[in-house]
């Protein structure tokens, strides 16, 4: 079975977000990681490979540090990696990313495409869905259990108040939700062997893309940080009086009741 995983490099969950002079999100000195939901996707791909045999390819679009997460996936056990660089692209959106990934995927062989259901940075949860749409593939979102048999995928997904079990023919796009699995640590041998595995670097031009095709359809007009949380207030006094004071403050100051 041939599986392609689409991991994204994101800020570390503990990164402190700041804005630069131009009002853009400051990327300087920030620790970058593989989007945690994409780690579930990589892990699931490796487990399917271990069970059914085959090959796992990891593909990512982005800046010069993206090979770090691809190397991590190779160290975990993926077989090869492709990095599409973002050189020359000033602004991108989910349309840009999905267009580029889908174009690349047309040249790859696959039975299954796995991704995280959303990235923890912009949280738009769009890229995998858009890729499925462009390629005309069925897609199951937020999967917490996945079985593959006889050219079909049977996936359990969370829905409001319960679970839904769906079946789709392969090839299909599946996105991972927390709970799908527990990602492994790369082994030391895996890390040492990763450098011998193929990692291809492509530009957008190599894919025959450029200009309007990859221009964003959505433009961020402004970024701003949430206003800092103001100091908490402790109401002293007898419980009954304190409760009355709390209600008064909620009504008159906070205006929430």
């Amino acid at each position: 079975m041939k599986i392609v995983v689409l991991p994204k490099q994101t800020f570390d969950t503990e990164a402190k977000i700041t804005l630069d002079a131009a009002g853009k999100i400051n990327r300087e000195g920030v620790n970058l990681i593989m989007n945690p939901y994409d780690e579930f996707a990589v892990e699931e791909a490796l487990r399917l490979k271990e069970k059914h045999g085959g090959e796992v390819t990891v593909v990512s679009f982005g800046g010069p540090k993206v090979p770090d997460i691809l190397r991590q996936a190779l160290a975990m056990g993926a077989d090869k990696a492709v990095h599409v660089g973002d050189e020359g692209l000033e602004e991108i959106d989910e349309h840009t990313t999905a267009t580029i990934l889908a174009k690349l995927l047309r040249d790859l062989e696959y039975d299954l495409i796995l991704a995280g259901w959303r990235a923890i940075d912009d949280g738009s949860a769009q890229v995998a869905g858009r890729v499925a749409e462009i390629l005309g593939l069925p897609m199951v979102n937020m999967v917490i259990k996945l079985d593959i048999a006889e050219g079909k995928a049977v996936a359990s997904r969370e829905i409001e108040g319960g679970y839904e079990v769906v079946e789709v023919p392969l090839p299909a796009v599946i996105t991972a939700q927390k709970g799908l699995n527990e990602p492994r640590y790369p082994t030391m041998k895996g890390i040492m062997q990763a450098k011998k595995k193929p990692m291809q670097k492509l530009t957008i031009a190599d894919l025959g893309l450029g200009g309007e095709e990859v221009a964003p359809k959505v433009r961020a007009r402004r970024y701003y940080l949430p206003s800092p949380r103001s100091q908490g207030k402790i109401i002293t006094g007898e419980p009954a009086e304190a409760a009355a004071e709390l209600v008064r403050l909620l009504r008159e100051e906070a205006k929430v009741v």
Binding site: D68, R71, P186, T187, M188, K189, I191, M192, A194
Partner: protein, 381 residues
């Protein structure tokens, strides 16, 4: 000149950090309290190929370098120094003599299971009457046909209860003094070989420290490790590498001290402000951070020298002394910054002090390492 770690070194450090913080650190307090040996953690470390990290794949190792190994030692010791010492003694004292001096057959037979983590490595050098003066070894090995017959005892030997075989030093030619010492691989199930683990230690409670007793223990001829009567030179070379790793352990403990003390000082409010704002506290933390950075840079340099196959005796001794004494100081300061809470077991810093102190003693005391440095710079010409 380039101070960057390679991509592999960086990934090894990051993965070991995540593993150590996730799987080992939450257990450290309990390990210290009960003194229980965390075999399950060792098993997980074996699954990650850590137990043979700096050895070639053909011996079951991961094929990484000594720099990577020292980075791993730092991260594991930062989470739990007991586990750090188990790991350090396994690789630096247990595996290394066999890797450096073993024949191909000995490596197949002994190094492979060590690298796979099927058993732990141990090295028995110290004796009741031969500590710093390891040349004064009293344990003897006498030739008897196709056998060596070993008599004597060893003390303070790390990991031996979990070993299938121990490398030990024994006198093979009394007349030659320290030039008459040889190394032997002794199976722990050999008749007459007793291992006792009854020490009550100040710290490192989760590390296995043992006494070895040899009562007419017979080992076959082929269990001689390396050349006959070259044992003294061999263990000095083993200790060079070990000292670099002990320095990495010290940096790990000191980093844990800084992590704890900085977090505490930012939170603890006295006189209306976090105590980190008082210069008396912030300068302690600044010194700690500075010393850690210096010690880390130096152990990386020493490990790099070793990877290049260059002489490293002086640098190893320097960083061992500097890092171990620095770690004890960092632990004392971390306790001080915690005030009365630092004296309590509820906080980890008192454990860090008890664990750190060993590093000024094991694998050459501070005094012995200063002797090595003084000799290297030409004091005793």
């Amino acid at each position: 000149m380039n101070f960057d770690l390679t991509k592999e070194q960086k990934m090894i450090r990051d993965v070991v950090r995540e593993f150590a913080q996730g799987e080992i650190a939450p257990r450290a307090r309990e390990i210290d309290r009960t003194g229980q040996f965390p075999l399950d953690i060792i098993k997980k470390m074996a699954d990650l190929d850590l137990m043979g990290l700096p050895f070639p794949e053909k011996y079951g190792g991961a094929g990484a370098d000594y720099v990577s190994y020292c980075l791993a030692v730092e991260e594991i010791s930062r989470a739990c120094a007991s586990t750090g010492l188990t790991y350090e003694a396994h690789i630096s004292l247990g595996c290394m003599p066999i890797y450096l001096f073993g024949t191909e057959e000995q490596k197949e037979k002994y190094l492979v299971p060590l690298c796979r983590g099927e058993c732990l490595g141990a090295f028995g050098l110290t004796e009741p009457n031969a500590g710093s003066d390891a040349g004064a070894t009293q344990t003897t090995a006498v030739e008897d046909g196709d056998w060596w017959v070993i008599n004597g005892s060893k003390c303070f030997i790390t990991n031996a209860s979990y070993a299938r075989f121990v490398t030990i030093t024994a006198v093979t030619d009394r007349a030659l003094g320290k030039r008459g010492i040889s190394n032997f691989i002794v199976p722990t199930d050999a008749p007459g070989f007793t291992i006792r683990a009854t020490y009550e230690k100040m710290g490192l409670h989760g590390s296995n420290t043992t006494e070895l007793f040899f009562d007419n223990v017979r080992v076959p001829k082929e269990n001689l490790l390396g050349e006959r009567n070259k044992g003294f030179k061999q263990f000095l070379q083993v200790l060079d590498g070990g000292r670099i790793a002990i320095a990495a352990m010290a940096v790990g403990i000191a980093q844990a001290c800084l992590d704890a003390a900085l977090a505490y000082a930012r939170e603890r409010v006295q006189f209306g402000q976090p105590i980190a704002r008082f210069q008396a506290i912030s300068f302690k933390l600044a010194d700690m951070a500075t010393n850690i950075e210096l010690a880390r840079t130096m152990y990386l340099k020493a490990a790099w020298l070793k990877d290049q196959g260059r002489p490293v005796t002086k640098e190893a001794a320097m960083v061992k002394v500097f890092a171990s004494e620095m770690a004890t100081r960092a632990a004392l300061d971390a306790i001080q910054i915690h005030g009365g809470y630092g004296y309590m077991k509820e906080f980890p810093v008192e454990r860090y002090l008890r664990d750190a102190k060993l590093l000024e003693i094991g694998e050459g005391t501070s005094e012995i390492n200063r002797l090595v440095i003084a000799r290297a710079i030409g004091c005793y010409l």
